[in-house]
């Protein structure tokens, strides 16, 4: 029993990590008043760049860097459209999703001629699992041993990084000058403006941070969890991350728990699939596959109530109406 729980939770961590990065990315963006439907596209773009660079330079770190760069570039396109040009942020996000979906495959094909995939990465060019100190020695200690050795130890560095990013995000948002200003532009940009702050600059900075975090998320997919880029490999994670963000009511620690919840639902769906449910018998696999989505709707409807986003989010800051 404990084993099963540990295994499901272990899988939960792996599945939550890309969501968590993306969710924190969305948090920075939306806290500053920029709605970002384009998380998905940024993750995808980053995953491609990371895998391509990791392959070419034979280093996961360079891959990560490349992923971040590409993701930030896409973020800047979104920033330009929604901050400088005051365009519709949702449309801009949709465009970025399409753009990443097309360009990754197009360039992948042009560079590697493998149908838009990048060549498979060897273990040395990926982020590999890290065994934490004493994991092996402690493994035999009852209860805590397996939890430490199997659950806590043995993930790759990006998994740890994603969870470390949670307190960091909290600290930045609630304890630093930058965080205060960021929250202010997201709630009332005019107030920030009259306090002598540049709304534009602040929002661009938030957008860039959003890009960086999506870069981590994408790199995790292609050079840590996976071993190379495959078309459409983000598979809707950006959207799920957005859902998680609303669930979390735009708070970092909540974000962690909701991402874990989503990861857990997914892991559970995987675990339960194909098993007979006592008293019901065989259930079509599609039921389990739809389970995370159904539960999301149920939870949204039943438990979290009305989530109130940062007041200015989605609204371009326009001083002068014409």
């Amino acid at each position: 029993m404990l084993d099963t729980i540990i295994l499901v939770l272990d899988s939960t961590f792996r599945l939550s990590t890309p969501l968590l990065f993306a969710c924190l990315a969305g948090l920075f963006s939306e806290r500053s008043g920029i709605v970002d439907i384009g998380l998905e596209g940024k993750i995808l773009g980053a995953a491609f760049a990371a895998a391509a660079a990791a392959y070419v330079f034979q280093s996961p770190w360079i891959g990560l860097l490349a992923g971040i760069m590409v993701s930030v570039m896409l973020a800047l396109v979104h920033g330009y459209a929604s901050i400088s040009q005051r365009g519709n942020q949702v449309v801009s996000g949709v465009a970025i999703n399409f753009l990443a979906a097309g360009l990754t495959v197009l360039l992948g094909q042009a560079w590697f001629s493998q149908g838009g995939r990048t060549p498979a990465l060897s273990p040395a060019t990926r982020f590999e699992s890290i065994t934490l100190p004493f994991a092996d020695t402690l493994a035999n200690v009852p209860v805590l041993g397996p939890i430490y050795a199997n659950l806590i130890s043995g993930h790759n560095i990006l998994v740890y990084a994603s969870f470390a990013a949670v307190p960091l995000t909290w600290w930045i948002i609630f304890r630093t000058r930058f965080g205060l200003r960021l929250r202010a532009v997201g709630e009332n940009p005019s107030a920030a403006d009259t306090a002598g702050l540049s709304v534009t600059l602040l929002r661009y900075r938030a957008t860039i941070i959003c890009g960086i975090l999506c870069g981590f998320s994408g790199a995790y997919l292609s050079v840590a969890q996976g071993a190379g880029f495959i078309k459409d490999m983000s598979a809707g994670k950006g959207f799920i991350a957005l859902a998680a963000l609303i669930f979390a009511k735009w708070k970092p620690v909540n974000a962690m728990f909701t991402c874990l919840l989503f990861g857990f639902l997914d892991a559970l769906a995987i675990r339960l699939q194909g098993q007979e449910i006592p008293g019901i018998g065989e259930v079509p696999v599609q039921v389990f596959q739809a389970l995370p989505y159904v539960l999301t709707v149920v939870l949204l409807a039943g438990f979290i109530g009305r989530a109130i986003p940062p007041k200015a989010s989605g609204i371009p800051y326009v001083k002068e109406r014409t």
Binding site: D3, T4, L7, D10, S11, R14, L15, Q109, Q114, G115, G116, R117, A120, L221, Q225, G226, A227, I230, K231, D232, M233, A235, G236, D266, A267, I270, R271, Q273, G274, P284, V285, Q286, Q289, A290
Partner: protein
């Protein structure tokens, strides 16, 4: 040059590392051997199936090979419009005088790899990861289960499907997670029939020190020592042969069923998985193969009654 062949792939496209890619390879082999160039097209939405076939036929390309069961309906229409053009379809039957239908007995090949899986498992638990839950994949699964039970009647088989959208075929991360979950539940050999998703399954097996089984083309080389074998579906051979037949005037229409006997399906054995296959396993699988060909062992075809008794 009047001989102008064409290939139309289904969703997934030319480079799906699996089924469509095998067809592409077959056409390439033909091209390399004969120097005859071929045209091809990757469809993007269902409406383009018909359009692509018609476009090729209208431009005088002949023969035209369509890949995948999903193209059957489109082919049926277009083949009637162009009775003088030769068409072939892989994985489905279209009963028209100018169409060659090529189908495989996936069940037979899966039977063999199921048997091998059963013989090499130490935990008496093996796994199967499919892409989408559709009849074709159940056909794979059914043969696999039958083969495994043939070797070890009370073996446990964990069966999972990846998803319900097109992404089910292209989600190696989910594939990896499914495989990991099966390993966690005791499986130590996992067979995938999930296209690109399967690369994640094999990757997970390699990462966890377990065994994977490849599908469609020989995937043994992907992770030497971690891929027990591959269930080869000789789409490439079939495509090459169809083109060659057409070129040499040996075209026949009608249904071609490729099973073990025709070498349409087989299991792979090469330097990459040599250490994994014991002599005992080898003789057992060859024996089973002969028994299937001779009819002594009958492999259940899921498509006949849409159910799997195993």
């Amino acid at each position: 040059e009047t001989f102008k062949p064409a290939v139309v792939y289904d969703f997934g496209g030319r480079n799906d590392r699996s089924f469509n890619e095998a067809a592409y390879k077959g056409a390439l082999q033909f091209e390399e051997r004969t120097g005859i160039k071929f045209r091809d097209f990757e469809i993007q939405n269902p409406s383009q199936r018909e359009q692509a076939l018609r476009n090729f036929a209208r431009r005088g390309l002949d023969p035209i090979i369509t890949i995948g069961f999903a193209q059957a309906a489109a082919l049926e229409k277009v083949a009637k419009e162009f009775p003088d053009t030769h068409f072939a379809i892989v994985d489905s039957v279209v009963d028209l005088p100018n169409v060659r239908s090529i189908v495989f007995k996936e069940g037979e090949g899966s039977f063999l790899v199921g048997l091998l899986a059963a013989m090499s498992t130490e935990s008496d638990t093996i796994g199967f990861v499919g892409g989408m839950d559709i009849p074709l994949i159940r056909k794979f699964a059914c043969g696999y289960k039958q083969g495994a039970k043939y070797a070890k009647p009370d073996i446990e088989i964990i069966e999972n499907m990846t998803g319900t959208t097109g992404a089910a075929w292209t989600d190696p991360l989910k594939g990896g997670e499914l495989a990991r979950s099966q390993f966690a539940r005791g499986a130590d050999v996992v067979f995938h029939a999930a296209g690109l998703t399967g690369t994640g399954v094999l990757q997970a097996a390699a990462d966890e020190g377990k065994l994977g089984i490849g599908v469609d083309s020989n995937q043994n080389h992907l992770h030497p020592g971690s891929v027990l074998t591959s269930m080869i579906k000789a789409v490439d051979v079939a495509v090459d042969k169809t083109l060659t037949d057409a070129k040499e005037g040996k075209w026949t229409s009608g249904v071609e069923v490729l099973g073990l006997a025709e070498n349409g399906v087989s299991w792979s054995y090469d330097e990459y998985n040599k250490p994994l296959i014991t002599a005992e396993m080898q003789s057992a699988v060859e024996q089973a193969k002969m028994d299937i060909i001779s009819g002594k062992v009958e492999v259940h075809d899921y498509m006949v009654d849409s159910s799997c008794p195993f």
